[in-house]
Each structure stands twice: as C-alpha cells, then as structure tokens.
C-alpha cells in the first residue's frame, strides 16, 4: 500500500536525477571548447515498480549512466587520416626548405653555371693575356663555392631532419607510455563500475597526437583498455598489459660510420638525442642510414645496460604513413638531390679537366684533383689560383691567339653528355668523342646537357614539394570533414544544452512542487489529530 512517505521518496529521486542532469548540462557547457571533450548525456530510467493488487506502481526515476557520446569507428577513421595528413605535412616541412637550397633564382647555381660557360667564351674571344683567364677563374670559384654551400646547407637540413625524427620518436614513446598509464586508471575505474569518461577523453587527445606521428591501429578490450599496433609494420606498440613499460620501443639511428670491417652506429635511444648510444658491429649487419627509425625490444636494452656487451637487435621500422614516415621520406629525397648535385659537380669537373688536360696527358686541370669532385669538396686547383696563365685556351703546341679549347669548353652548356655519369662511363665517352686536334666533342643523342642537368634537379625538388603540398591540402579537407562529423556527434551544442537546462530546472521545480504538495497532505493528516 503506497503511502505519502514512499511518494516523498519518488520526489526526492526526481530531484536528484534532475539535479544530476542539470549538473551534466552545465558541465557540457563549461567544456564546450575543451580539447577532446565529448559531450555527456544522462541516461534516466524509471525505477523498478512494485506490485499492488492488480497494479504496478512506479517508484520514480533512476540515473543509470552518464554516457560519453562517441563514435569509435569514426575515431579509427580519423586517426588513419591524421597519419596520412601527418606524413604529407612533415614531408612538406622539410621539402619547402630544400626548395630554398635548390633554387631557381636568377642568382642561383643555374646562373653560376651559365656564367662559367660564358666566361670560357670570353676567354676564347681574347685568349691572350690574363683578362679572360681571371674571368674564368672567378666564375669557376663562384660555381665551386656555390656547390660547397649547397652541399653544406643540404647536410644541415639532413641533420635537422634527423633531429626532428628523433624528437617525434621521443614524443611518440612518451605518448604511448602516457596512454598505458591512462589504460591502467581506466581499467581500475571500470572494475569499480565507474564510467571513466574524462579519462577516455584525455586518452583520446593523446591518441590524436600519436596518430599524427605513427599510423596506429587501435583495439579495445572489455575493460576499455586500448591496444596499439603500428598499422604499417604490424608491430605491437602497446599491449593490454599495463603494469610494465611497452615491450617494444622506437629508437632512431643518429649516424652510421663504416670502416670496412665494422659499423659504428649511433643510436638515439627512445629518440633521446641528449644521450646517444654507440654500438660497434660487423660491416654488413645492418643497412641503415641516418634518420631511420628502429624497433628495439625493451628487455634487450635492459640487458645491454647491465653489461654493455649484449648489443640489442635493431629492426628497421618501414613506416609509410604518419609524421615520422613523412620526415623519413623527405630525408631519402634529400639524399637523392644531394647525390644528383654530386653527379653534376663530378661531371662538370671531370669533363672540363679532361678537355683541359687532353685526358690527363698534358696541361693543368682546373678543378683540384686532390679533392673529391663532390658538391661538398669540389674546388679550384690551387696551382691555377697561383698562376692563371696555366689555363690553356688553345692547343698545347701553339700559343696566345688560339682560343679553340676555351671555345669547346664554353659549348659544354649545350653539348649533351651521357646520363650515366660514373667515372668509367664518362671517361669512355670522352675518349671516344673528344678530338683534341680540332677541339670538338660530339653530343650523345640520348644524353643531357649541363644546362638541363641542374634544371632537372630543380624540377624534381619542385614537383616533390608540390606533391607534398597538394597532399596537405587534400588531406586537410578530408580531416576537417571528418572532424566536423566527429564534432557533430560529440560536440557540445549550446542551444541544446540551454534547452536541457531549462527542461531539467523546470522538472526540478516540478519535483519540488510534489514535495510541497506532499507536505500539505501530511499537514492535513496531522491537523486531523
């Protein structure tokens, strides 16, 4: 038999539920702009009724849950797109700097190269005396110093990119560890039957950040813990076990030196550049280059720490998406540009020297044969710097007025040389096609000219950068469309929450009214006494 007191109970439950709902709506409004916040919803359910006679009588309302509104499938989708966006963005970041080094400016290497050939043409016009030779020397020095500078700028950019990879790796490792700790807390709250809404939001933010660095697959267990897998390699980055550190961590190859018998590898352990580990191992064990990300098992590091002899085994992470992958890809491209620049430096120096010395049989080379003809090391022969008359403009037997040799060199801008610029191939081509009596050098129909050589490098850098920038734009659009959808599901709508506030506060007032009505009823009963 229901009594006034049990109705009190119903009213109080109503008050509590609506107060809680008001609190949730306020919390939603307060967090409308918080990063990673998902709106929460109070799930109200009517309480268990009890039976009386033929009826079931309601006993009020229960709050069954405060639910976090989130679409897990959308999360996974966004994380993958973040990875793709991250890879374009990081590649673009590096390549835009490369574009400044390999420039097409009117004062750049292209100009220096042309100036060098026209200087030879000047010399051919007046082969007597020192005027023309001074111009040739100066133009050549400009060309070599510009190459040296470009090589050192490229090296700096490569080193910066490696440092960037290391810092991203470090960030990824620490994010994974933070996620592990959150996993643990979420697990414990779940065991107590609590809803770890805000912890899951925090974890979501960390996963957003991590997915921009590494392309991750996320799996959930029944206690809402997450397991992280590297989507590109399948390696497990974080298991469900929350007690210990992840079994596998990423490290970065800082540098690698090979003396023919041993490789000395500098490893930025866990991405930490402040404390690099140097290991020495037989040549050929690994095929790494600086900036590679490697997986190392945590227990192997522990064993190495114990005695410094058990060298941990390194597994190269073949990353394809994510910020790390983008940086690594850009680094590989930089390597390519640098080697093309080396090819240009080598073929110019080798060809000019070959013509000036009739294939190393007489005369004086213009480029110093004691240093490598690489972009970094190429330089003008110091003998010529001391005595510019050593520059031979004509044949060795005649004198002064003959500028035929200089004329041939000036034509090198247009003459096509083989695209394979290995020393053997170039030497073979020159020995078959260079005629030192009439000073002619025939073009290779399938070859390319020095004028086209550098333009090719610039075009490659340009189109790589363009591809990355276009990728960023497309991916940005995709990511923002997905983020919009996510916001549409999990975002806080002020209008909606305001309506909820009004609704719940009205309900609260109504429930209060019930209580005052009950009080009046009780008064009535009591006054009867």
């Amino acid at each position: 038999m229901p009594g006034i007191f049990s109705t009190y109970n119903t009213a109080i439950k109503g008050l509590q539920a609506n107060s809680l709902a008001t609190q949730t709506a306020s919390n939603n409004i307060a967090n409308a702009a918080s990063q990673g916040y998902s709106r929460q919803r109070v799930i109200l359910q009517e309480s268990m009724p009890y039976s009386f006679s033929n009826f079931q009588i309601g006993t009020g309302v229960d709050v069954t849950n405060i639910e976090r509104v989130r679409d897990k499938y959308l999360d996974a989708q966004i994380w993958h797109e973040y990875a793709s966006y991250g890879s374009y963005k990081s590649a673009q970041y590096v390549l835009e700097q490369a574009e400044i080094i390999f420039d097409a400016e009117e004062t750049g290497l292209n100009n220096a190269l042309t100036e060098m050939w026209t200087a030879w043409s000047d010399l051919a016009e007046s082969p007597e005396g020192t005027n023309g030779r001074t111009i040739v020397l100066q133009a050549t020095e400009t060309f070599t110093s510009m190459l040296n500078q470009m090589a050192s700028q490229t090296d700096t950019l490569k080193a910066d990119t490696t440092a960037l990879i290391a810092s991203k790796t470090k960030e990824a490792n620490s994010l994974i560890n933070d996620i592990r700790e959150l996993n643990d807390q979420i697990y414990k709250m779940n065991l107590k039957g609590l809803e770890p809404n805000s912890l899951e939001d925090q974890r979501g933010v960390l996963l957003d950040k991590l997915s921009a660095i590494v392309n991750i697959n996320v799996d959930y267990d029944e206690n809402s813990k997450v397991m992280l897998t590297d989507a590109d390699t399948g390696e497990t980055l974080l298991g469900y076990e929350t007690k210990e550190e992840p079994a596998l961590k990423m490290s970065v190859i800082g540098s690698i030196k090979d003396d023919g018998t041993n490789q000395t590898i500098t490893i930025y352990r866990d991405g930490d550049t402040s404390n690099p580990v140097e290991i020495t191992i037989g040549t050929g064990t690994y095929d790494f280059s600086a900036g590679d990300v490697v997986y190392v098992e945590t227990h192997e590091w522990a064993e190495y720490d114990a005695d410094n002899t058990d060298i941990p085994s390194l597994t190269k992470a073949e990353l394809k998406e994510g910020g790390l992958a983008g940086n690594m890809e850009a680094l590989a491209k930089l390597e390519g540009y640098a080697s093309q620049l080396d090819d240009l430096a080598f073929s110019v120096a080798f060809t000019v020297n070959y013509i000036l010395t009739d294939g190393d049989t007489a005369g004086t080379p213009l480029f110093d044969t004691n240093s490598d003809f690489t972009a970094a090391d190429i330089k003008v022969n110091p003998d010529i710097q001391d005595d510019i008359t050593l520059i031979e403009a004509g044949s060795f037997t005649t004198s002064s007025g003959d500028g035929a040799r200089a004329l041939l060199i000036s034509k090198l801008n247009e003459i096509r040389l083989p695209t394979d610029v290995s020393e053997a191939n170039l030497e073979n081509y020159l020995s078959n096609n260079y005629d030192n009596s009439g000073f002619t050098l025939s073009s290779d129909p399938a070859g390319r000219s020095f004028g086209g050589f550098y333009a090719d490098i610039v075009a490659t850098v340009g189109s790589d950068t363009q591809r990355a920038s276009n990728g960023v734009i497309t991916q940005e659009a995709l990511v923002s469309a997905l983020e919009e959808r996510e916001e549409s599901i999990s975002g806080v709508s002020i209008d909606e929450e305001t309506i909820n506030l009004i609704k719940y506060s009205d309900l609260y007032a109504a429930n209060s009214k019930v209580i005052s009505t009950l009080t009046r009823m009780l008064d009535t009963v009591l006054n009867m006494v």
Binding site: A32, A33, L95, E96, E99, F102, D103, A104, E106, N110, N111, L113, T114, E115, W117, T118, S121, D122, A124, E125, S126, E128, G129, T398, S399, S400, G401, D402, G403, A404, L407, K411, N413, E414, G451, G452, Y454, A455, V458, A459, T460, V461, G462, S463, T465, Q466, S469, S480, E483, E484, E487, S488, I489, G491, V492, S493, I494, E496, T498, I499
Partner: protein
C-alpha cells in the same frame, strides 16, 4: 546532422584562412611581379624559365662575340683595302719605270718609293685590333711581318691558324685572314717576293725586266680584291647573325615574360575581388557567430 557552434566557428576560421592564403599568394605574385615564385609553383615551367634565362645569357655572349668580330673584320677590311691601293701604286710605278725614257737616277727614286710602299704594306699586315694582331694567325701578340735585309716582307710569327668565334648555339666561324693568305693571296708568289723583285729591278736599272712583272702585279691585285670581298662576305654574315641574334633575344624575352610575368591589371582586379570576398567573410562572421538561444532568453 547536429550542428554545434564549434562547427560554425571552425568552418568560419578555416574559410577565413583560405581567403587570406589566396590573398597572400596573389599579393606575393604582384609584389614579386612573377607568376612562378618557387619551383613547386610549377615544376615544369620553372625548368623552361631556367633554360630560357641561361639561353638569354648565352645570347648576350653571342652578341658580344659578334660585335667583337665585326670590329675585327672592319679592321681587316681597312687593312686589305689599303694594301690594294698600295699594290695599285706599285703597278703605276712599274708602268712608269718600264718606259725606257727614265734615267737610272729617276729609277732609283722610284725604287725609294717602292721601298716606302714595302714598309707601308708591312704596317698594314701588322694591323692590330684591341691589342691582337689580326693577320698573325695564332701568334696574335707578336707583330707577324717584318722586312728583311733583302727588302722582302716575311712572316715571322711562326704559328698560323684560324681565330674562331661562336656566334649562335653550335655555329662557330673563323673570322681571320691567316698570315699566309695575307702575304700570299695568289698562292703562287708572295707579295713580299713580288715587291722585292720590282725593287731589285729598279735599283739595278733593269727596266726591261721590270716590264715583265706587270702581269704578276695585276694578279696580286686581283687576289687582294678577292680577299677584300671575302672579308665583306664574312661581315655580311656577321651582320645577319646580329639581326638574328636580336630577333632571338626578343623572342625569348617575350616567351619568358609570357611564362612568368603577371598581367598586372588582371592580378589587381583578381586581388581586389579577393579582398571583397575577405571583407564580406569578416562582416558575415559578425552576424553568424554571435547569436545563441541565450540571446533570446529573458
């Protein structure tokens, strides 16, 4: 679809950014006065621009080569024409000396004039242009001709050869009259030898032998005239090369400009259109971002 305020603001911000980015790009293009500022703006056109830039630079060099050659050929022409006059004078003197009315002392006087002409022609042969002896073959820094004790003009430079110049891509021409061609244009007897024979005949008073040289001198003159027209032909070729060079340069400059230069009027209009869009976006922002339900609750 639920629409939240954050979606509105995010959308608004990203569009505002896009507008600003396009405006920045067009501003860069206007201030840099170029459509293509970085290789990634258009990797294909950038290589064309680079090729065109270096071709223009080379073209300037060809023009300077051509101008230099024209000066050289001018000097050559003057020297050869002067030589032709000298040979003509010798021809007159030989005709005079051959008539048997001249006394021995008169012949000696003619011989003295011939001796002067021999020196004169040597001077012509030693003409230099910008410090280079133009008939010297490859040995351009030493005067190529001298008169020996027997009054014969001889070549003392020792190294003959072509002076070459490049006037357009792959076109190399020789601009000089070599020492041997100047001294011996007929290919049979050198001018030095002819003059020496004339001089010897005059000093010995052998006027009958002198008469036999008239034909040889005639041949020498024809040969020098032929040489002069060869130089004229080379000059013509240079002149037309110069015309072509200028046309090419103009052409390339035009193409280059069409690839990279901006149409200032078009860009300015484009830019002000973008600015209008940007302004509109800003003012719309003020309207759409403000109201929520809260504004209407009292």
């Amino acid at each position: 679809m639920r629409v939240t305020h954050k979606m509105l603001t995010d959308n608004y911000l990203s569009n505002l950014n896009k507008n600003l980015a396009t405006m920045q790009k067009s501003q860069e293009q206007i201030t840099g006065f170029s459509e293509i500022l970085k290789p990634s703006d258009n990797p294909y056109e950038i290589t064309r621009i680079m090729r065109m830039n270096s071709a223009l630079k080379k073209s300037d060099q060809y023009l300077s080569n051509i101008d230099n050659s024209l000066g050289w050929l001018d000097a050559t022409d003057t020297a050869i024409r002067s030589t032709v006059s000298a040979v003509q004078r010798v021809q007159e003197l030989v005709t005079q000396g051959s008539s048997e009315t001249y006394s021995e002392s008169q012949l000696i006087m003619i011989a003295d004039e011939i001796s002067e002409i021999i020196n004169e022609v040597t001077q012509y042969g030693n003409t230099s242009y910008q410090g280079r002896y133009i008939f010297a073959g490859h040995n351009t820094i030493e005067s190529p001709f001298e008169v020996n004790a027997g009054k014969e003009i001889v070549y003392s430079g020792g190294i003959t050869g072509d002076i070459l110049t490049e006037i357009s891509p792959g076109v190399t021409v020789s601009i000089n009259i070599d020492a041997e061609d100047f001294l011996n244009p007929t290919g049979n007897v050198s001018i030095g030898e002819t003059f020496q024979k004339v001089y010897d005949a005059l000093t010995t008073g052998d006027s009958s032998t002198l008469a036999t040289y008239a034909k040889e001198i005639e041949e020498q003159m024809d040969a020098y005239l032929a040489l002069a027209s060869e130089v004229g032909a080379k000059t013509n070729r240079m002149e037309s090369a110069k015309e072509k060079n200028k046309a090419d340069t103009l052409n390339m400059t035009e193409i280059l400009s069409s690839i990279k230069d901006i149409d200032l009027a078009e860009k300015t209009v484009e830019h002000s259109a973008m600015k209008a869009v940007y302004d509109a976006t800003l003012s719309i922002g003020g309207h759409i971002l403000q109201p929520t339900l809260l504004d209407y609750l009292r």
